[in-house]
């Protein structure tokens, strides 16, 4: 077990969560909660894999994954924005829909080898002692894109005019509306952007970071963890990134724990009683709940809440 491997693995798998969580943050800041991340990710993963396989180009696959997630999210947008349906139920049905579509269209993809998005090393930065080797050498290109997405999304949300409009729409849509901001338009846009990023996260799994198509095990609940991460991150992309990477590292650590080594000078119980591994596999989910308890408590203490209009349909002339 080496720290270096855990860190690098965390950066890789964390990138998947990061894409999905930042997407969901953007959607939720506009006042729309989309619980269908898991479905959008799975559909994105399938679309990316299938397209890459068919065209031979992983980049076309990536685009297909993004488009698939985005298109699916539009169903949620239509139902929750125009039809004012309950966002929780709509998000759940989106999960079923995405999962179902991915399984139907992904029939027969298991076991195939699609062309993948490759790893890369950043020329100068990788020369930095130790840090360069960990952060900038031989990682998937998408990991570097993730690095860029973090500050850009933070800056976009907090420092730009469209970002200010986005926050206004999620916080007090009536105010935004009275100043001529198109509330429905903004909500559609960011639901779509969130869907695209979820699709990207799915594509990052199937054709980049842990490649392959394993039907619904491809995402194995990471979409839900991304949703939890948003609450833990208190709608801040920086915290979401940190949480995503930490989570990735933990996962790797859990995997390493199953090896035949000594643990603090003790025989590793997980190696000798292999069934205990089930308890290790539980840990990401247990940790998510613990993080959520901690996140909810600190949000309450600091009085940081969800965007005020989150989950509430906007109808002109009604309160809210």
């Amino acid at each position: 077990m080496s720290l270096e491997i855990i860190l690098r693995s965390g950066l890789s798998t964390g990138t998947i969560l990061l894409f999905a969580a930042i997407g969901e943050i953007l959607t939720e800041l506009a006042g729309i909660q989309n619980l269908g991340v898991e479905g959008m990710m799975l559909l994105g993963a399938m679309a990316a894999f299938k397209t890459a396989l068919a065209t031979g180009s992983p980049w076309l696959g990536l685009l297909a994954g993004i488009a698939a997630g985005g298109l699916l999210s539009l169903a949620h947008a239509l139902v929750t924005i125009h039809f004012q349906a309950d966002q929780v139920v709509s998000g759940l049905s989106l999960t079923f829909l995405g999962t179902g579509l991915a399984l139907v269209l992904g029939e027969g993809l298991t076991g195939q080898n699609a062309p993948l998005i490759s790893n890369a090393t950043i020329p100068l930065l990788s020369k930095i002692p130790w840090l360069g080797r960990i952060f900038f050498a031989d990682l998937n290109i998408l990991v570097y894109i993730g690095y860029l997405l973090i500050p850009i999304s933070w800056w976009y949300i907090n420092k730009t005019r469209p970002g200010m409009h986005l926050r206004a729409v999620g916080e007090k849509p009536a105010a935004a509306d009275s100043l001529g901001i198109n509330v429905y338009g903004v909500r559609y846009l960011y639901t779509f952007v969130g869907g695209c990023l979820a699709g990207l996260a799915g594509a990052a799994i199937s054709i980049a970071i842990s490649p392959g198509w394993y039907s619904n095990l491809t995402t194995s609940g990471q979409g839900w963890i991304a949703v939890a991460l948003v609450i833990f991150a208190q709608w801040n992309p920086l915290r979401a990134a940190l949480g995503g990477y930490l989570f990735g590292m933990l996962r790797r650590f859990m995997l390493d724990l199953q090896g035949p080594m000594l643990l603090f000078g003790l025989r590793n119980p997980f190696f000798y009683n292999h069934n205990l591994v089930f308890f290790l596999q539980m840990m990401p989910f247990v940790l998510t709940i613990i993080a959520l308890v901690w996140g909810s408590a600190s949000a309450r203490r600091l009085r940081i809440g969800a965007p005020a209009a989150l989950g509430i349909p906007y109808v002109r002339g009604e309160r809210g």
């Binding site: 829909l97 995405g98 579509l101 949703v227 596999q281």
Partner: protein, 369 residues
């Protein structure tokens, strides 16, 4: 502006006609099947044959029909539990986990065994199993309820996470302590831990031969009746309805919200736990992996489609039971999820018709000019 007619969409001010919710639900289901047929066509399937096969697999014989009811039983119990929680706007998505824990608790009776399986009367064993199943599910429902009430932790996320935890927990036991000679399942329960099936009486009534229908369905029907009594006749039901409509008003009326959140979550979990017991004791007769074919999630849809009405839940779970039975037979396997998702989407979309009146009206002459 120059069209002679236009759509007018208006908020309903008068009460919704009684037939409309039913009509929209039925319409949504029919539409969902049409869309699925379209998808089947697009991927090169034959929708008519598939659905014909579908129908046959579900209703083609008494045996098939009995299979449908068997599959509908856990859906009914889970749907009732979810419906109860949804009344209070508690999103219990964790029925899947509560189902597994309930099944595990109930299985302890024959597996440990907690009582002598030979001498103890069968109904005592079954009663213990049912109670333990409910206890397990109830305790597992307590966790998200408590976290929600005390720390305001989103129950959607916590119940979902707990689903995964429950599956791994269950796996540990069936792979290790209770494993049947290293297989990923426990030994078959002693016969005294089996819920009675119609097939058991094949000697008395010839027609029952091979009919797998078991007593669990009676649990479901009784539960539906009890939930109906609670929701429409009891003080507790009034409190639940009030909290669901406006929690602020409920607090103002002196109702203890924390306690009710936890209690409702526990009851909801207990029903899912009972479903788990009914499944291991009535169908599988052992604890193993994949005792649930996504009952937990389907139960959510069942509850919503039934508009949280206990009696409607009976009908809808029957329909979904048919879907599962037929779904086993058809390819591709994801179609089942897809149909479920589409139905739910269409149902919530159609709700807009309950809140708005959409009519075609003649454009006013002043406006047309």
């Amino acid at each position: 502006m120059s069209l002679p007619y236009h759509l007018r969409i208006q908020k309903r001010t008068e009460e919704v006609p009684r037939w409309l919710p039913l009509a929209t639900s039925v319409g949504a289901i029919i539409l969902a099947f049409l869309i699925s047929a379209l998808i089947l066509l697009l991927i090169g399937g034959d929708p008519i044959r598939t659905f014909g096969y579908f129908f046959n697999a579900a209703f083609g014989s008494w045996g098939a029909l009995s299979d449908v009811v068997v599959k509908a039983t856990p859906l009914l119990l889970i749907g009732l539990g979810c419906g109860l929680a949804f009344r209070m706007r508690l999103w219990n998505i964790g029925a899947e986990g509560q189902f597994y824990i309930g099944a595990f608790f109930a299985s302890l009776v024959p597996l440990v065994p907690l009582v002598d399986m030979e001498t103890t009367p069968k109904f005592v064993i079954l009663l213990m199993m049912a109670l333990l199943g409910m206890l397990g599910g109830g305790l597992y429902g307590f966790i998200p309820g408590y976290l929600k009430a005390k720390f305001n932790v989103s129950e959607i996320i916590s119940t979902l996470m707990l689903n995964y935890v429950a599956v791994f927990f269950n796996n540990y036991w069936i792979y290790s302590e209770f494993s049947d000679a290293g297989f990923q399942m426990t030994p078959v329960f002693a016969k005294s831990a089996w819920l009675p099936r119609l097939a058991d009486y094949a000697q008395e009534v010839r027609a029952f031969s091979g009919i797998t229908l078991h007593l669990g369905v009676v649990f479901g029907l009784i539960a539906a009746f009890i939930i109906w009594i609670i929701m429409s006749r009891s003080r507790w039901g009034y409190e639940i309805n009030l909290i669901g409509d406006n929690p602020q008003a409920a607090r103002y009326a002196g109702i203890n919200i924390t306690r009710n959140v936890i209690l409702v979550f526990m009851l909801s979990g207990a029903l899912a736990g009972l479903a788990g017991m009914s499944e291991v004791s009535g169908v599988v007769h052992r604890l193993q992996e994949r005792i649930s074919t996504n009952y937990g999630f389907s139960g959510v849809i069942v509850a919503w489609l039934a508009k949280l009405n206990p009696f409607a839940t009976i009908l809808v779970s029957f329909l979904f039971g048919a879907l599962i039975v037929a779904g086993r037979e058809i390819q591709p396997s994801g179609l089942y999820f897809f149909i479920q998702g589409t139905i739910l989407f269409l149902v919530i979309s159609s709700d807009v018709l309950l809140r708005y009146k959409i009519e075609l009206v003649r454009t006013a002459p002043e406006e047309a000019k």
